[in-house]
């Protein structure tokens, strides 16, 4: 149907972004297809190497099952803090992924945990890594005739400690800047590996590879002092909005990074 009626039919899942766009007359689809009525797109399934998530799984559902989280509760912790309860009841993972709004938490989260997405069209199916899926604000590798039909999150080793922080204008606003941090730390409190992904300030989530390399072998107090400025220096904010300049977003990154580090170290204490 998406292929046959291209441009006239839009899928709707929870509709939390789409309804806002409809009411603002920003989009005008002639027909909507309700994906929530498709059982094959729902649910979660645990496998040895990964967790399969149906794209219509809502945030509220995901929060209820932290025990199946392949990143040891981190995904549920992040999702539990998105918007408010009423939005989480309806909003779906697949919706946030396909919306690809830089301010959303899900794209930066999926990129950091190395998720991949299955895209299906009539007679064709392919899998795209999150790192290659997001291509800028509201732009993805999904073709108009394709549907997101599965989300694969690989199981992470339990010795990784994960932290997430964001800064929005108001408490339940989407992020002007966000950071996901993943660390392994040895018995001498030295970092052995690090993952750093920035969202919000950039059009699509991006790693900070130089900072990731710098992290290796560093003591935690070095990270506390230098991590934020290094991430801010490495990324180039390119999200332009009338109220918030790229320079302002860049200035937010050090503080957000420090909070993400604190979050990661708290998870270590747990």
């Amino acid at each position: 149907m998406l292929e046959r009626d291209r441009g006239e039919v839009d899928p709707i899942a929870g509709g939390q972004s789409l309804l806002l766009a409809l009411k603002a007359r920003q989009v005008a689809p002639r027909r909507l297809v309700n994906l929530m009525a498709v059982p094959e797109l729902a649910g979660v399934r645990v496998a040895d190497e990964h967790l399969w998530l149906g794209p219509t799984v809502t945030y509220a559902e995901l929060v209820e099952v932290p025990e199946v989280d392949p990143v040891h509760g981190f995904i549920a912790r992040v999702v539990a803090n998105i918007a408010d309860r009423a939005v989480r009841t309806m909003a779906t993972l697949g919706g946030a992924i396909c919306q690809a709004d830089p301010a959303f938490d899900v794209p930066v989260l999926m990129t950091a945990v190395d998720a991949s997405f299955e895209l299906s069209a009539a007679g064709a199916r392919r899998r795209v890594a999150a790192a290659n899926f997001f291509r800028g604000p509201s732009s993805t590798a999904r073709a108009p005739e394709e549907l997101l039909t599965g989300i694969f999150v690989p199981r992470k080793p339990p010795d990784w400690h994960w932290g997430f922080a964001k800064q929005g204008m108001r408490v339940h606003d989407a992020a002007l800047a966000s950071v996901v941090l993943g660390l392994t730390i040895d018995a001498d409190d030295l970092v052995t590996a690090g993952t750093v992904v920035v969202g919000g300030a950039v059009g699509s989530p991006c790693h900070a590879p130089e900072t990731e390399r710098w992290c290796q072998g560093r003591a935690l107090d070095e990270l506390e002092a230098e991590l934020g400025p290094r991430i801010a220096a490495e990324i180039e904010p390119d999200v332009v909005s009338p109220r918030f300049s790229t320079a302002y977003r860049q200035r937010l990154v050090p503080g957000v990074s420090r909070r993400a580090l604190r979050h990661a170290l708290e998870s270590r204490a747990d």
């Binding site: 509709g15 059982p39 399934r45 099952v65 899998r127 039909t149």
Partner: protein
Amino acid sequence: MQIEIAVNGTPVRADVDPRTLLLDFVRDVAELTGTRNGCLEARCGCCSVLLDGGLVKSCNVLAAQANGRAVDTVEGLASSDATSVEDTTTEGSIGAYRPLTVRGVDPSALHPLQTAFHELGALQCGYCTSGMLMTLCEFLEREPSPSEADVREALRGNLCRCTGYQSIVDAALLAAERMRETRPVVDVGSSVGKPAADSGEIPTAPPSA
């Protein structure tokens, strides 16, 4: 399009424009105007209702998305024995606190949240109140023993421009306390109060690759 939604347990069937919001269905079709139209941007929470028991902002849900499902609104909180609002609100009572009993309302017919809101004056203009009540109703079902911080977190999606929130938080905690006292004690060995075998689980689907 033809849709049918069970509003407070009563099936409401109508032929509506596909663009109709659940908020408009509740107010204009079901004619239950306790649910407020506040911001229409899913921010203020005035329009909060329960959809199959889950909290939603009805201004950001299409009525078609609720087709065949159950919606609970603020009108469904009190039992049908409670005296209607028209009978309890008079010109003479404006600005003066009057116990529910003086107004001819049986407090036991109200939801504990409604009673607590009334007793503690947890409203001023009242526009946000129905949304606050529905949000807290869903929250206290999930979390019977919340802290003050928990209540404030639960109310993050509901805006009140009059009260400063403190009296609303106090009322929520008072209602929670009373609801705990009246909650039936469940015999662990019996099946009463236990969830159904599949309840709370996300339905699984076969992996598609």
